[in-house]
Amino acid sequence: MFKLKYFELFRTLAVVLIALLLTMLFIALISEQKIETMRIFLTEPLSSKSHIGNVIEMAIPLMFTGLAMALLFRMNLFNLGAEGIFFFSGLVAAAIGIQTGLSPFIHPVLAIAAGGIVGALIAFIPGFLKARLNANELVTSLMFNSILLGVGLYILNYYMRDASAYTTSSYKIASSAQLVRIIPGTRVHIGLLIVLVFIALAYIFVYKTRWGYELRMTGANREFAEYSGIKTGRVIIYVHLIAGFTAGIGGSVEVLGMHPRFDWVALPGYGFDGALVAMLAKNGPLAVVGSAFFLAYIRVGAEMMARYSDVPAEMLAVIQSAILLLVSADQFLKFLKNRMLLKEAEKNG
């Protein structure tokens, strides 16, 4: 019999297991070579250095947006603006990245910092409106996603577009702005270290500082926190600033690390994926690493599966939504928890 405090972990693992079983079921129903397809999905991401590299590359943006969403969710703030900020900050970083004549250290630092600051400024707006006017942050942030996409596409098409490129994309990002590769034989870039530093800092911030304490108190019960002297409006604003900064850095790092040109013509989806990462991590900063890597792993698995077998990668969308629905379902497996509580009470009583 395992302990009650591990229940949440157990439940998350149960969701992951169900998701994997569901995947296998789909493959069994669809594929002509079932066993081979399952093998590709499960083991191909680990089969070579470059495939492992793919998993790490994929995990980097997911960690950034997952962390941003975890901070907001912890405050019980349903702000989904990370999606638009990730896109727009990526564009800002690219706008600086396509300039030439800057030195290889200053250039990416400048571009990433600009992306982060723009992200924080954008996030400030719904944060301020929520804190001061109690305007619904969900609706405002969703509207901002669409506004940022429109404005971003306008800037891309009218000021940054390279007419000689075959698709809608910006001029090439200067080599001085591209992020350094840190693992030979892969495309894993220095963004990995940046995001890990962010996660460590976020952990210290949330659990070891006064501001983090205020954040946790406000998230648990805003009225009670206000009553005990915490200026919750201020907390809402700085959490928005930090989350926007994180998502903005994430978008900048992704563009400079992985894209030779800026070529997003739609919202890239990492913000919404961040919601899934945060939920799997139960909004814990450190657990974001694990859940981002899990998600990255099954994504690369699905890509490999699409490449080497007859099952399309879009299958993963079904799996991902099942994970999100189950992992955020309070009542899922609750009966087990209740039974455990009862047993423990009987034992102690």
Binding site: I30, F78, L80, L129, R132, L133, N134, A135, N136, L138, V139, T140, L142, M143, F144, N145, S146, I147, L149, G150, V151, L153, Y154, N157, Y158, A266, F272, A275, L276, M279, P312, E314, M315, L316, A317, V318, Q320, S321, A322, L324, L325, L326, S328, A329, D330, Q331, F332
Partner: protein, 306 residues
């Protein structure tokens, strides 16, 4: 500028406002019903997309556009029912549930399309049917007006009928009263014997029904096939319309038409090489401004009161 006025004052342009408003209005009515029951359904986009696909598939396999329409409605209501089950029974957060539905629809529709046709982008290989356009007798013969209000898609007329229906449903029927009661104060509603969970199920499934009619219009009217991510943010515009319409049937309908106008305008301006990217942000910008003004006035009011 002259060219612009020339375009705006044509019967074609006025006609096109009705056409582009149709899916927005349907989805906004869906947003309205669930919102009045206290549930923010952000899965509208996904519900529309799924029903756009089911409509095409069922009409192609049965050879009947009308059975296709029923299929689209059934698909949308099924997705809404799944969302309702997770949020009402398993206590999944409704926002995360909505994100999940959207993610499912975006990839899942392509997945299903691929399994059935081997294509990933469009359903062009399927011989799917379109719902007809309807000429209104007498009115179609009136100069100008006939060209604007007659000859529309059958779902366009249905969308306006649906707006009237929703108005009366919320205002004049016991179900509407219960929906509003549940949305305003679930505990109070419960205490006078309203079955809160049941009402929310009904509201969400109705919301799915309306959104799915919008989806059916997309693939069996606006276009003649399903294409990947074809709803292109209309579910979000619908949320904006509902929000700016202050959660009333009349307000929601008017803002839906306003946003339809903005979109028709942006389509027309593309001909004039005016950046349509910026014009497409107008509905969202106006919504944010509207929300801010409303929230600001509410705050002032409560400060005065307290």
């Amino acid at each position: 500028m002259d060219r612009l006025l020339e375009i705006l004052f044509t019967t074609d342009f006025a006609y096109s406002i009705f056409r582009v408003t149709t899916p927005i209005l349907f989805a906004a009515l869906g947003a309205l019903i669930s919102n009045r029951a206290g549930i923010v359904n952000i899965g509208l986009e996904g519900i529309m997309l799924t029903s756009a696909l089911t409509g095409v598939l069922i009409s192609a396999y049965t050879g009947s556009a009308w059975i296709g329409l029923i299929g689209a409605a059934a698909g949308g209501m099924l997705i809404a029912a799944i969302l309702a089950f997770f949020t009402l029974e398993l206590k999944t957060d409704i926002i995360l549930g909505g994100i999940a539905i959207n993610a499912f629809a975006s990839g899942g529709t392509v997945f299903i399309l691929y399994l059935l046709t081997g294509e990933k982008g469009t359903s062009s290989t399927l011989a799917s049917k379109m719902l007809p356009n309807v000429d209104i007798p007498l009115i179609q013969d009136i100069p100008y007006l006939g060209l604007i209000v007659s000859g529309h898609h059958v779902l366009t007329y249905l969308s306006i009928a649906a707006a009237v229906l929703v108005y009366f449903l919320l205002k004049r029927t016991p179900l509407g009263l219960q929906i509003r009661a549940v949305g305003e104060n679930p505990e109070a509603a419960q205490s006078v014997g309203v079955r809160v969970k049941r009402i929310r199920y009904i509201a969400l499934v109705l919301s799915g029904l309306f959104a799915s009619l919008g989806g059916a219009f997309m693939s069996m009217g606006y276009l003649s096939q399903f294409t990947r991510d074809m709803t292109a943010g209309r579910g979000w515009i619908a949320l904006a319309a509902e929000s700016m319409g202050r959660s009333t049937a009349v307000g929601t309908t008017l803002t839906s038409f306003l946003f339809g106008f903005a979109q028709a305008l942006s389509n027309a301006l593309q001909l004039l090489k005016i950046p349509s990217e910026l014009i497409q942000t107008v509905p969202y910008l106006t919504t944010v401004i509207g929300l801010v003004i409303y929230a600001w006035r509410q705050t002032k009011k409560s400060q005065k009161g307290g």
